[in-house]
C-alpha cells in the first residue's frame, strides 16, 4: 500500500495553496497531490483566454515540475480519487492504486451542470472547466462561424466574449432578465449587457431554452418564447456543481457541496475540504454557502492546511464574502460583498452617465457591507478587509463616502503599520 502523510485531491487554487501552507511549517512530512488533469496545474479562470488564443496552455502553468520537486511533493496527474475508506484512512484511485493517508484534503473543485433540456444529450456541445475543454472548444471555434452560449453567468459571459474575440458571431441565451444574476445588481448588469450588445453579441434575455437539436452541422435551440437560434457550436454554461460520487459510503455530510466547519473540517475524522467543492460558513448569515470564486478557494485552502499541519497561527474562517472583479470589453465591474440593498442597509450611490461609471456603497451600523462599481478605480482587496474586519467607519464616514479609495487605503495602511 502507498503511504503518505498528507493526501491532497485537486491541484488547483485550493490544493496548491494548501501545499504551500503545509510546507511553511512542515518541511519533511510526505505530501501527495492527485489531479484528474493530464497536465500540470492551471487555473480554470484562464480557460476563456485559452479559447480566444490570448493565453497559451503551456504558458499558464501555476506550478512547474521543478516546484513539486523542490518542495518534495509527489504529484500524480491524470488520475482520480474514486472512493474513500475513512475508517482505514485510505483512498482508491481510478487506476486501482490505493493510498493510505494521515490527513486528507478534498479540493476537487466543481464541474459543469448539464441542464435537463430535451435533446441536449443527443446534441454535441461544449463545457468549459478543464484545459481539455478549452482546447476542444478552441479547435472547434477555429472552424466555426457562429456560437450559442447557454447561460449568462461568469463562465458564459467570459466564454462568449472570448469566442467573439476569436471572431465568432455569438448569441447568449439566459433565462433571467439580467446578466450575471447574483453577482451584480441590475444597474451594473445593464451596463454590461449594453457593452455586449454593442460589441455584436446577441443577448437573448429572459427566456429559457426548451429544446435543443442537432443540425447537419451545429445545432438549433428553441426558446420558451418560440424563437429559434442556430449555430455551429454550443457552449453550455448554466452553472457548476461539485461531483461527489467518491464520498459514497462515508460519514461526510453534504448539501450542495461538502459541509465543513470554520477550519474546513468535514464530518469525518482527518478529512478536510476546501474551495469550490466545499460549502462553508457565510460571512453575513448563519448558514453555509457555496462560493465558487478563486480568492475564496485560496483562503479556504490555506485554512484547511494550517489546521491539518497544526499551525498555531490559524485563524478560523470568517465566512465567505462574494467578490467579483469582472472585466468585459475593456471595462470593469467590481463587486465586493453584498450587492443588493435590503431594509437594514444604508445605500449611497453615485452615477456618472457620461462615463458609464457608477459606485454604490452599502453600509450597516456604519460598517461596510458591500461596495460595487463600474469603471471606477477600486481596491477590491482593501474593501474586502474593511468588510471582514468589520471596521467601524463612523469617524471617517463622510470621507469614505466621498473618497472610498483614498480613505480605504489610509485605513488599511494605518492598520498595517
Amino acid at each position: 500500500m502507498n503511504q503518505t502523510h498528507y493526501l491532497i485531491a485537486g491541484a488547483s487554487h485550493a490544493g496548491l495553496e494548501a501545499v504551500h501552507r503545509i510546507r511553511l511549517i512542515d518541511e519533511t512530512a510526505s505530501i501527495t497531490v492527485i489531479t484528474r488533469d493530464a497536465q500540470l496545474p492551471y487555473s480554470p479562470t484562464i480557460l476563456p483566454y485559452v479559447v480566444s488564443g490570448q493565453s497559451e496552455p503551456d504558458r499558464v502553468v501555476l506550478r512547474n515540475a521543478d516546484y513539486f520537486k523542490s518542495q518534495d511533493v509527489n504529484l500524480i496527474t491524470g488520475n482520480e480519487l474514486i472512493a474513500i475508506d475513512e475508517a482505514a484512512q485510505q483512498v482508491t484511485l481510478k487506476s486501482g492504486e490505493q493510498w493510505h493517508y494521515e490527513k486528507l484534503l478534498l479540493a476537487t473543485g466543481a464541474d459543469p451542470i448539464i441542464p435537463p433540456i430535451p435533446g441536449l444529450s443527443e446534441t454535441p456541445f461544449h463545457v468549459l472547466r478543464t484545459m481539455q475543454d478549452a482546447i476542444n472548444l478552441r479547435t472547434h471555434a477555429g472552424n466555426a462561424k457562429t456560437a450559442i452560449v447557454l447561460g449568462a453567468g461568469l463562465i458564459g459571459m467570459h466564454g462568449a466574449e472570448n469566442l467573439r474575440h476569436a471572431g465568432l458571431d455569438v448569441s447568449i441565451v439566459e433565462m433571467c432578465d439580467q446578466v450575471l444574476p447574483g453577482y451584480f445588481d441590475n444597474q451594473a448588469a445593464s451596463v454590461i449587457e449594453v457593452a455586449f450588445n454593442s460589441n455584436g453579441i446577441h443577448m437573448l434575455m429572459g427566456s429559457g431554452v426548451v429544446k435543443v437539436e442537432p443540425l447537419e452541422s451545429g445545432c438549433q435551440a428553441t426558446l420558451e418564447n418560440g424563437q429559434t437560434v442556430q449555430a455551429d457550436l454550443l457552449l453550455v454554461a448554466t452553472g457548476v456543481k461539485p461531483k461527489l460520487d467518491y464520498l459514497k459510503g462515508t460519514s461526510i455530510q453534504i448539501d450542495q457541496g461538502i459541509l465543513v466547519d470554520r477550519t474546513m473540517r468535514t464530518d469525518a475524522a482527518n478529512i478536510w475540504a476546501a474551495g469550490d467543492v466545499a460549502q462553508a460558513a457565510d460571512f453575513y448569515k448563519d448558514e453555509k454557502v457555496m462560493m465558487g470564486i478563486l480568492p475564496n478557494a485560496v483562503t479556504q485552502g490555506a485554512i484547511a492546511a494550517m489546521d491539518m499541519a497544526e499551525d498555531e497561527a490559524l485563524q478560523p474562517y470568517s465566512g465567505g464574502v462574494p467578490i467579483n472583479t469582472y472585466t468585459f470589453f475593456g471595462q470593469q465591474a467590481i463587486s465586493v460583498g453584498q450587492s443588493v440593498a435590503d431594509e437594514q442597509t444604508e445605500t449611497l450611490s453615485r452615477v456618472d452617465d457620461d462615463n458609464q461609471s457608477y459606485l454604490k456603497i452599502l453600509l450597516k451600523d456604519n460598517q461596510l457591507q458591500g461596495i460595487s462599481s463600474i469603471n471606477e478605480e477600486m481596491d477590491a482587496g482593501i474593501m474586502w478587509q474593511l468588510i471582514l474586519r468589520k471596521i467601524d467607519l463612523t469617524p471617517v464616514k463622510d470621507a469614505f463616502i466621498a473618497q472610498p479609495l483614498e480613505t480605504g487605503r489610509a485605513l488599511m495602511s494605518s492598520t498595517w503599520r
Binding site: 472583479t325 477590491a380 487605503r409 495602511s413
Partner: protein, 443 residues
C-alpha cells in the same frame, strides 16, 4: 533564504512636505513620461482625521497574496530581487490580484487598461530620489544579512541581556564579522555581566575571551597581541568595553595603548553609565540624565555636568582609525568595522557605538532602534569617522537635524527636563557639531 532591499516610509517626515507629491510626480514621470498622478505606483494619502499621512505602495510581500490570486502566472516573486514582477504578456486583466492585495499595491490603471505596480525602478527608485524630506528611503541593509548570515554567531545563544538590549546586538554583529581568529577582552560591565565570559569554567563566547580589570583592558590586550605577533599568529586583539570601563576607570590604559598605537580593535558600547551595577552615572552620561547617582529632586535635576566626548578625545590621540556608529545605521557601522579591522593591523582602531539602554534609560524594549535613530537624526549622536592624518568625515548628514526633543522625549531618563535644561542640551548639541565641523574642515 535571502533578504531584500526595501523602500521605507517615515510618515512624520512626510507630513512636513505639505503634500508636495514629489514622489508621485517622479513615479508618474519615469513610468509614463507625464506628470499625471494616475500613472504613479506610489500613492500618499491623507491620514485619517488629520493623522499622519499614509502610504499605498506594493510591499513586495514575502508571502504575496496577489500572486496566489493570479490565474495567469503574470505575477511572480523574483527570487533575486524580492520584487513581485508583473508580466504584461501573460496578464488577462481579471483584476483578481487587486482582491488579494490589501495595501493598494497593485491597482488598475484606467488609461493603460492594465494593472500596474511598483517595480522599485530596477534598484534605483525614482520616488526616493525625489523625496525632499527623507520620508522615503531605500534600505539596502538586506545585503548585510545576505552576506553575514552564513557566518557563525560567536556568542552562545541565551545570554542573559535585558529584553531589547542594544549591546547584545552590537556584540553579536561585531564578533560575527570580525571572525573566529580573535582574542576578546570584556572588562566589567553589561557585556560580561550577561554571561559572555561564562561562569564556573564555562564560556559564553566561542573565541578565547577574558575578563580583565576595568583598569587594564587595553594594556592586557596590547601584551597578548605582542605575544601572538611573536608567535607569528595573525589574531585580532579586540575589546568590547562599556563607556565607564573605557572612558573613566580604564582611561589611563586606553590612552596609553592609543598613544603607543598598539594593534588593537577597541569597541566601546556607550550606554551612558554603569548600567549593570544599578545605573550609576559615568563621564559619558549626558547632561540632565536621571541616574541613581544623579537623581531628580528639589536640588538636583539629573546630571549637572556635560558628558565628555570620548570619541573626540580618542581622535585627538591620532589613532589609525576612530569612528562613531549607531545600530540604526548598520550599513554604516559595517563599513566602519571593516575599516577599523584593517586599521587594527597597523595600529590602534577605536569604534564608539551609541547604545541606548531600555532598562537604564527607561524606554520600551521595542524602541531601542528608534532611540538610536533619533539620536543620530537630532545630531545628538552624529556619525563620523577619522583616519590618521586625515580630516574628520561625517557619514550621515548633520544638516537639517530634528530638534533635540525628538530624541529626549523617547527616554524616561529625560522626562523631568525643563525648558532651561532643554535649551542647554540643544546648545550643547549645536556646539559639539560646530567643533566637529571644524575638524572636518567645514565652517
Amino acid at each position: 533564504m535571502t533578504a531584500y532591499n526595501t523602500i521605507a516610509f517615515d510618515p512624520s517626515r512626510c507630513e512636513s512636505c505639505n503634500n508636495c507629491d514629489a514622489c508621485i510626480t517622479a513615479c508618474a514621470q519615469i513610468k509614463s513620461g507625464t506628470d499625471d498622478p494616475l500613472h504613479s505606483r506610489i500613492k500618499i494619502v491623507a491620514g485619517i482625521n488629520g493623522n499622519q499621512p499614509e502610504l499605498a505602495l506594493c510591499r513586495q510581500c514575502g508571502d504575496p497574496e496577489c500572486t496566489k490570486s493570479c490565474p495567469s502566472t503574470s505575477l511572480t516573486k523574483n527570487e533575486q530581487t524580492g520584487i513581485i514582477d508583473w508580466n504584461k504578456s501573460l496578464c488577462i486583466d481579471c483584476l483578481l490580484c487587486t482582491v488579494g492585495c490589501t495595501y493598494g499595491g497593485i491597482t488598475y490603471n484606467m488609461t493603460l487598461k492594465h494593472v500596474a505596480k511598483c517595480d522599485m525602478c530596477d534598484g534605483d527608485p525614482a520616488c526616493v530620489k525625489a523625496c525632499p524630506t527623507g520620508a522615503l528611503t531605500y534600505l539596502t541593509s538586506a545585503n548585510i544579512f545576505n552576506e553575514q548570515h552564513e557566518r557563525e554567531d560567536l556568542f552562545v545563544p541565551g545570554l542573559s541581556a535585558c529584553q531589547g538590549c542594544n549591546s547584545e546586538m552590537i556584540m553579536r554583529h561585531s564578533l560575527r564579522k570580525v571572525g573566529p581568529d580573535t582574542v576578546l577582552a570584556t572588562p566589567p560591565g553589561c557585556i560580561p555581566g550577561m554571561g559572555s565570559v561564562g561562569f564556573n569554567g564555562t564560556t559564553g563566547t566561542k573565541v578565547p575571551v577574558f575578563h580583565p580589570l576595568l583598569t587594564n583592558t587595553a594594556s592586557m590586550l596590547a601584551g597578548l597581541k605582542k605575544q601572538y605577533n611573536r608567535m607569528g599568529r595573525k589574531v585580532t586583539a579586540m575589546a568590547l568595553a562599556g563607556d565607564g570601563g573605557a572612558g573613566d576607570v580604564g582611561f589611563q590604559s586606553l590612552s596609553g595603548a592609543a598613544e603607543r598605537n598598539e594593534q588593537i580593535l577597541f569597541i566601546v558600547v556607550d550606554n551612558e553609565g554603569y548600567m549593570n551595577t544599578g545605573m550609576q552615572a559615568s563621564g559619558s552620561t549626558s547632561y540632565g540624565s536621571w541616574t541613581t547617582t544623579t537623581p531628580v529632586g528639589t536640588e538636583m535635576k539629573g546630571k549637572p555636568t556635560n558628558q565628555k566626548n570620548l570619541a573626540m578625545i580618542m581622535m585627538n590621540h591620532n589613532c589609525e582609525y576612530v569612528a562613531t556608529a549607531s545600530t540604526a545605521f548598520v550599513e554604516d557601522y559595517y563599513e566602519k568595522l571593516d575599516k577599523a579591522l584593517e586599521a587594527s593591523e597597523r595600529g590602534f582602531a577605536y569604534l564608539h557605538i551609541y547604545s541606548p539602554c531600555p532598562t537604564g534609560w527607561r524606554f520600551p524594549s521595542s524602541q531601542t532602534i528608534e532611540v538610536c535613530r533619533k539620536g543620530v537624526e537630532t545630531n545628538f549622536a552624529p556619525l563620523w569617522e577619522y583616519e590618521r592624518g586625515g580630516e574628520l568625515q561625517f557619514t550621515h548628514s548633520i544638516d537639517n537635524p530634528l530638534p533635540v526633543e525628538a530624541y529626549l522625549n523617547l527616554s524616561g531618563k529625560y522626562r523631568h527636563v525643563n525648558e532651561q535644561q532643554l535649551a542647554h542640551i540643544q546648545q550643547e548639541v549645536n556646539d559639539r557639531v560646530k567643533t566637529l565641523k571644524r575638524f572636518a574642515g567645514l565652517n
